[in-house]
Symmetry: C2
Subunit: 225 residues, 2 copies
């Protein structure tokens, strides 16, 4: 499915900088694809010649670590995915999997490069976002490594609530074992800690639906382990 980028309600900050003719070029050289929950969007080790723009849904970025699968981060729209692959060696260095029904634009790499070359505002926005990712990634890594497990779990819950779902009640889009991969702990520990949080009156659970009932406490746990 081809669409006109000028009319797209999901357009990126970077693409906003593009002139009409550039947007026209983008319209002609991308394709919108839908993925169902659980579908693999890109797979580590495979070849890729597209930049991916995440326009709708939710995905996890994950890599095969030395021992187990590691979820690096969750990404929500609007954002570009797979830039490193595209400008690098064309081999995907990580996998991306849909956590909800998701829509992405596959943008032809040469088109994308052309846009970078002919439109410096666009390129600068891309650089800006890459820089933001780098800092995020430093901080996330320092947190993960230094905090104790319960602190990390609390942080993930807060982050989902604040950044992704923007509500105190939400349904975790991950199994407990995936949450384990995200904060690098075992599935059992996740289960135990969630029960603890519930017993302490910090959250309420119904299946995967979580309600944060005492945000203050959860923040304290996040800070103090």
């Amino acid at each position: 499915m081809k669409t006109d980028c000028q009319l797209c309600p999901y357009i990126s900050d970077a693409a906003l900088k593009l002139a009409a003719c550039d947007l026209h070029q983008l319209s002609d050289n991308h394709i919108v694809v839908s993925f169902k929950k659980g579908d693999s969007i890109i797979k580590q080790g495979t070849y890729s010649t597209n930049v991916i723009f995440l326009r709708k849904g939710l995905v996890k970025i994950h890599i095969t670590g030395p021992y187990s699968e590691q979820i690096v981060k969750l990404a929500k729209p609007p954002t570009y995915l797979g830039l490193p692959t595209t400008v690098g060696d064309k081999i995907n260095q990580y996998s991306i999997t849909a956590l909800e029904d998701t829509e992405v634009c596959f943008i032809d790499m040469t088109t994308f490069k052309d846009l970078l070359k002919t439109n410096d505002e666009f390129a600068f926005e891309i650089i800006r976002s890459l820089c933001r990712y780098e800092i995020d990634s430093f901080c996330r890594c320092a947190n993960r490594i230094q905090k104790q497990t319960r602190g990390n779990l609390a942080e993930v819950l807060l982050d989902m609530s604040a950044t992704i779902f923007e509500s105190d009640t939400f349904t975790i889009p991950l199994s407990q074992s995936e949450v384990g991969n995200l904060i690098d702990t075992s599935r059992e520990s996740v289960s135990r800690m969630l029960s603890e949080f519930e017993k302490d009156g910090i959250i309420r659970m119904q299946g995967r639906q979580i309600t944060i009932t005492n945000k203050r406490s959860l923040e304290l746990v996040s800070q103090n382990g």
Copy 2:
């Protein structure tokens, strides 16, 4: 000290793409500064209006984590530092400290942005390097989190040997306590493990000078913890 970038032996891959007139602009708008071992080059939380090009020496990039100082990575020339700060909110999100006597170029931010805008090859090289950093950072983080401490220490030694010093014998530019901050473990554990490695005949130590005597074993430890 101002210098002519056209004659600089330390020029970056990105700057190689610049035309003579752009290089001239760069020459006029940067300044070379020397730092002694231990000097702070940029400090987290302070204001910055320069991009830094690391031309000579060795530095550590470190952030103040939730509990302790975390060394995010070591950086060696040639590389740009502090890009995220510059294109972001101007507040340094991390500190950079010299581990050896180091020379850097402070490049005025507006000049740098001008170069990005007027020279798409230059911008593309910058994007390329930012993408590489992102992947590096994903991998480093997954490794750090998943590997056991001895595996991380082995990896750091191998990495220093292969990437930074390009020799089996080198002097660690960090105290054991800093090594602890790098692989997130305690100073005591670093000491104990280094002794173990020596006892096992994998390395030889004289103060901070280390010789890798059995690379194969060290690689095994790095892989298997």
